[in-house]
Each structure stands twice: as structure tokens, then as C-alpha cells.
């Protein structure tokens, strides 16, 4: 049994706006295991990014606030952590890679400088040690000429190179957990394949845990061990990647898979999910998916579905499985 490195229980992050309370994340649970990759999947606005920001304590307050739940890193509840202790963990033990490397890197410092700064701050290294570390990191993420690239400013690099530089930076303090928020969305297909390979290697060589946020099930199939499908700030289904892709149980997951265009065959028409993602200010009652669900029962309008276990390690939040054990 691998150990759990990050345990999230009943996390609720709300945003209090003038138009009402947005329940961006509304009671989610999951475990991230050591040197495994967990993928958070869902459409825009389902709460994937807010979950990641909550873990790192980066929710802007106001308007946002974590109103309840627990986030355990090893056995430390990050939500009860004093700010200076959290600052030592964030970036050092839990690091993050953002979608848009262009805006996440500082445009007025060279790549090398930005890595050196972080290494000196968190690890207390000398400038010379930090520089050596920076070069070896750039090499590790597949940058061909690290000495040159370290002296470049972010705008001098291509999108793929910039994304690598940011991954190198996030690795600079040997984090236990790397949170990657759509790291391949802004890059081209061929570069995407290269970057996914880097993540796969890192997971194996560094024994690092990866929390990978994406909307692309194709990527999940390449990189993930477990997957958590989110809808409207809640979990819809959680399973192993192969379990979920081969045998999706939640009607939402099943439709998501069916409406993907398939590169290996052409269908006359793609299946669609009618309607759009619900408003989180005034969400529908009961199961959030019921207005778009073709299998909705009477109970779906009334009650929020509890988790049902359909197979080992495969949980689904859907009333269709109410005959099964909770």
C-alpha cells in the first residue's frame, strides 16, 4: 500500500460576490498517493483550478474563502497552518506549474535568475550552488543548451521552452507534490507530447506525486493513474484511469467520453450533452447534473447523490447506483 501524501476531506471554497455566493468547490474528497498522478478533469468552471489554489492557500480573500474541510499534507492540516509555515511549504514542498508560462514568469529577470532566487530562498544555498542547481534542472526538463537558456529572458523562448523553464523552476526545491494546472493547453500537439513525456519521467525518477489538472481526457489516458471527474464544484466520479475510461459509470462521464471526436473513426454526428454547465450562484437542486442528464430519476431533483462504490477504488455520485453499497 502506497502512502497518502495529500488528503482532502469535504473541502468547500466559496466566493462571496455581490450577485450571490458562488460555491466553486462544494465538498470534495480525494487522496493523492506518493509517486502517483491524480488527474482532476472537468469543464471550465467546475472548480478544478480553485481546488488547486485552495491547497496552496492562494485563494484571494475577499471575495473567496475556504469555508470548511481539511487539507492534510502528510499529517499537517494546511488550513490550520500559520501563514509563515505555509509559505515554507508552498513552492518548496508543494509546487505549481501554471497554464500560461508567459504570464507566470517574471519578464524582467532571466530564467536562470528566477530559479536561483527560489533555490537561495528555500534551500539557503549559496549563489554558486544555486546556479549549478539551476543548470542541472534546465537539463533535466530537456532544454538542450542550459547555459544559454539560463541567460535568456522569458520572451526570448518559444512557448514549449518557456513551459519547460517553468517546470524546471517548480522542481527547484525538490517538491513532494507538483500541481500542474493545464500545463499543455497553450502549446502545440508535438510539444505537448514532449512535455507529457517529461512529466511521466519526473514522476518515476523523482518519486514525486502529481496533481494534474486538465480538461482533455486524451492527456489523462497518457499520464494519469487515478482520475477525479468534477462537475459544478463537486465530484461526479473517481476511479483508476483505465477503470473510468473503459467503464464510465456516471452519465456525465459517459457522455463526456462519447462526445469526443475520435481520431481513429468518424461518426456521422457527435453525441452532445444538451444545455450548459449550471450557474454556481443558483445551482439546480439535488444532483447538479440532472437538468442535462438523460437518465435522470425523480429523486435526482430532490437529493444530492451520496457516493456509491461500484468497484474497488471506483466511486460514483449518482442515484442510478443506489442499490449498491455506499
Amino acid at each position: 500500500m502506497t502512502e497518502t501524501i495529500l488528503r482532502i476531506r469535504n473541502l468547500r471554497t466559496y466566493f462571496f460576490t455581490r450577485r450571490g455566493t458562488v460555491k466553486a468547490v462544494d465538498g470534495i474528497d480525494f487522496d493523492l498517493l506518493k509517486s502517483k498522478c491524480l488527474c482532476l478533469v472537468g469543464e471550465s468552471g467546475c472548480g478544478k483550478t480553485v481546488t488547486a489554489l485552495s491547497i496552496l492557500g492562494l485563494i484571494d480573500s475577499p471575495p473567496g474563502r475556504i469555508v470548511g474541510g481539511e487539507i492534510y499534507y502528510n499529517n499537517l492540516n494546511l488550513l490550520e497552518c500559520p501563514p509563515d509555515q505555509l509559505r515554507r511549504i508552498r513552492g518548496k514542498e508543494i509546487a505549481m506549474v501554471f497554464q500560461d508560462a508567459q504570464s507566470a514568469l517574471n519578464p524582467v529577470f532571466t530564467i536562470g535568475n528566477q530559479i536561483v532566487e527560489q533555490v537561495k530562498l528555500h534551500l539557503g544555498a549559496t549563489t554558486r550552488e544555486a546556479k549549478e542547481k539551476a543548470l542541472s534542472l534546465l537539463e533535466e526538463v530537456g532544454i538542450p543548451t542550459p547555459e544559454k537558456v539560463a541567460n535568456y529572458y522569458p520572451h526570448q523562448l518559444s512557448g514549449g521552452m518557456r513551459q519547460r523553464a517553468m517546470i524546471a523552476m517548480s522542481l527547484s526545491c525538490d517538491p513532494q507534490i507538483l500541481i500542474a494546472d493545464e500545463p499543455t493547453t497553450a502549446v502545440d500537439v508535438t510539444v505537448k507530447a514532449q512535455i507529457l513525456d517529461i512529466f511521466n519521467q519526473l514522476k518515476n525518477t523523482r518519486q514525486m506525486s502529481l496533481l494534474f489538472i486538465t480538461h482533455d481526457l486524451g492527456i489523462v489516458s497518457e499520464i494519469g493513474d487515478r482520475i477525479l471527474v468534477m462537475y459544478g464544484g463537486r465530484v461526479a466520479e473517481a476511479a483508476t484511469v483505465s477503470g473510468l475510461l473503459n467503464n464510465p459509470k456516471h452519465p456525465y462521464t459517459a457522455s463526456l467520453i462519447r462526445c469526443l471526436p475520435d481520431i481513429t473513426q468518424v461518426k456521422d454526428r457527435l453525441e452532445t450533452i444538451p444545455g450548459t454547465v449550471p450557474s454556481l450562484i443558483d445551482p439546480p437542486g439535488g444532483c447538479l447534473f440532472h437538468p442535462r442528464c438523460d437518465k435522470a430519476l425523480a429523486i435526482c431533483r430532490e437529493e444530492t447523490p451520496p457516493p456509491f462504490i461500484v468497484a474497488e477504488g471506483h466511486t460514483v455520485f449518482c442515484h442510478l447506483y443506489s442499490h449498491l453499497e455506499r
Binding site: 469543464e43 471550465s44 538542450p144 518559444s158 512557448g159 514549449g160 521552452m161 502545440d188 500537439v189 508535438t190 510539444v191 505537448k192 507530447a193 514532449q194 507529457l196 513525456d197 480538461h215 482533455d216 481526457l217 486524451g218 492527456i219 489523462v220 489516458s221 497518457e222 483505465s242 475510461l245 457522455s255 463526456l256 467520453i257 462526445c259 469526443l260 471526436p261 475520435d262 481520431i263 481513429t264 468518424v266 461518426k267 454526428r269 457527435l270 453525441e271 452532445t272 450533452i273 450548459t276 454547465v277
Partner: protein, 321 residues
């Protein structure tokens, strides 16, 4: 299937000059589109795929004459439109319309949907306001929205609905050809499928031809009849859809296809291309792809391969064939 060629482009080139220094002298040029030829038949979809910076959007804009080509001819229904004047150009644009990637920024935030679509109708000669309003409602219903939406502003819609408005606006003037520049890449998968289906329905109903520009090959496969692959300003392969996906000839096409993560076929062998796309400012000599190619020959860095037919309309620009 109609065999009539609706649009034909020949040896189209677009170079952007780079000037610098005190006297703004020319210091270089970016060859965004460098000698592209193809045709689109009536009622047909030509998918145009490639990585960012390969010139696919520029190509779309040149056909609409939103950019002036440096060289080459654009022939629409047998008429050369490369050097049409302003007035004639306006008439032409009734026939050729465009849908943009980001419906948020392509709709005026201070105009209602009625005004946005109505403006297109007014410009193209529908003077009567009541008639315009009627037509707007007709279009909205056709693209899956409702009559009351005519009085809403863009911010009141979701991105999928906004893309429907963008399609409606293009459709309003009864065009024959629509240039769709990454119309679904900003949308969620469930919405993407809705928009693709809508575009397929409209094609059957109105006999539209599409030039469908996208970087996502599975989307291209779903909607296109023929597919062209671009790399650094040139078409490297062009063939019927079935051909290109089952029998890709150009090493770049092969690599592109193998790089796509597929949930139905996990852990397959992948061709990993080294490096990234070279700068179009200074493209490699010979075949532009030779710096990243996994099947490179000695001749590749010396001579540029022409785009030639290797049978049944399958065009490929590669020294291997």
C-alpha cells in the same frame, strides 16, 4: 457531390517585411505563407491543420482579402479576386464569410445580438428594419438560440452560445463559403460537439463550403472531406480525409497523428519530434521539416521537395516519394 471548384488559390504568398534601424530599412522578412495552392469545391469542407505559426490563419485572412497577398492568385467562381476594388470586394464578402476563434472578442460588447447581426444585413443591402429583425430571429432559431436572445448583449451568453451567434452572423448574408478559424478550440468538449454538429447540419441544409482551420486533428477528421497539413508556410500534404488518416505519407503528418493522445488507444508508440518549429524569419534550407524529421535523407537539406501527386489526388511534398 458537386465537382465545381468554388475557390482556387494558386501559389499564394504572404511575406511580412521587418524594418529596423534609423531609416526603417528592410532587415528581413517573415514568410508566413510561402507558395500555397489548393481548391475547395462547392459544399465541401477542406480542413487545414498545422501548429501555431505555420500560416494557417494568415491564409484564411488572405482569401477574404483582409490581408493583401504578396504574390499569387485567388480565384472565386472563376473570377480572379486578387485585385478587386473596394466596392466589388464588399459584394464578394457577402459570399465568403468568416467565423473567429474567440467569439468574446469578435462581438461588439455594446451591441445587442440584433444589432450585431442586423449590421451585417444592413451593410449587404437589407434596408428595411422590420425585415432585418425578422431575419435575425430566423437566423437565431436556425443556430439553436431563441427569438428573445436578439435583445441580449454578448456578456449575457455562455461561450458556446456566443459562438452560435458568430456562426449566425456569418450565415446571415447567405454565403457560399465560410472560413472557420479555430471555431471550437476555445470551447469545452461537450459544447464543441454541439457546435461541430451545428456546422455539419448547416452545411447539408445550405450547401456551404468550409475552410476549417484547426490544430486539433480529431476535430478536423470529424468535419472535413479533404485535409491539408501545413508546416512553416507550406502545404506538406493534402489528401482525402480517409487517405490522410489511414495512410499518412509525410513524416510530419505521421508525427502529428502519433502525438495525439487517444483514450481509445492507450500507450501506443509515439514519434517524438525533437525541438520546436523553426522561426519563419529564417526557415531551414531545403525541406523545411528536415531539422526535425525522423526519416531524413541526404538530399533533404539541399533541395526543396515539390508538392506532387502520388496517386488519386494524394499530394505530398517529401523526397521519400
Amino acid at each position: 457531390m458537386l465537382n465545381h471548384k468554388l475557390l482556387e488559390v494558386e501559389n499564394l504568398k504572404k511575406y511580412y517585411l521587418i524594418t529596423g534601424g534609423l531609416l526603417a530599412r528592410q532587415v528581413g522578412e517573415v514568410k508566413a505563407v510561402d507558395g500555397v495552392s489548393f481548391y475547395i469545391k462547392e459544399g465541401e469542407t477542406l480542413g487545414l491543420a498545422g501548429e501555431s505559426g505555420c500560416g494557417k490563419s494568415t491564409l484564411g485572412r488572405i482569401i477574404l482579402r483582409l490581408e493583401e497577398p504578396t504574390e499569387g492568385e485567388i480565384i472565386y467562381q472563376g473570377i480572379n479576386i486578387t485585385r478587386l476594388g473596394k466596392k466589388e470586394l464588399r459584394r464578394l464578402r457577402k459570399q465568403i464569410q468568416i467565423i473567429f476563434q474567440d467569439p468574446q472578442s469578435s462581438l461588439d460588447p455594446r451591441m445587442t445580438v440584433n444589432q450585431s447581426i442586423g449590421e451585417a444585413l444592413l451593410i449587404h443591402g437589407m434596408k428595411d428594419e422590420k425585415e432585418r429583425a425578422k431575419r435575425v430571429v430566423e437566423i437565431l432559431e436556425r443556430v439553436g438560440l431563441e427569438a428573445q436572445h436578439a435583445w441580449c448583449y454578448p456578456h449575457e451568453f455562455s461561450s458556446g452560445q456566443r459562438q452560435r451567434i458568430g456562426i449566425g452572423r456569418a450565415l446571415a448574408v447567405n454565403p457560399k463559403l465560410i472560413i472557420a478559424d479555430e471555431p471550437v478550440s476555445a470551447l469545452d468538449v461537450s459544447i464543441q460537439a454541439q457546435i461541430l454538429n451545428l456546422m455539419l447540419d448547416l452545411q447539408t441544409e445550405f450547401g456551404l463550403a468550409y475552410l476549417f482551420i484547426a490544430h486539433d486533428l480529431s476535430v478536423i477528421r470529424q468535419i472535413s472531406h479533404r485535409v491539408a497539413i501545413m508546416y512553416l508556410g507550406k502545404i506538406v500534404e493534402l489528401a482525402e480525409k480517409g487517405e490522410i488518416f489511414q495512410n499518412p505519407l509525410h513524416p510530419y503528418t505521421e508525427a502529428l497523428l502519433s502525438a495525439i493522445p487517444n483514450i481509445r488507444q492507450r500507450k501506443k508508440a509515439r514519434i517524438l519530434l525533437p525541438g520546436s518549429v523553426p522561426s519563419p524569419l529564417n526557415p531551414p534550407a531545403g525541406c523545411r521539416f528536415h531539422t526535425r524529421c525522423h526519416r531524413v535523407l541526404p538530399i533533404c537539406d539541399k533541395e526543396e521537395p515539390p508538392l506532387k501527386d502520388v496517386g488519386e489526388g494524394h499530394l505530398v511534398a517529401c523526397h521519400l516519394y
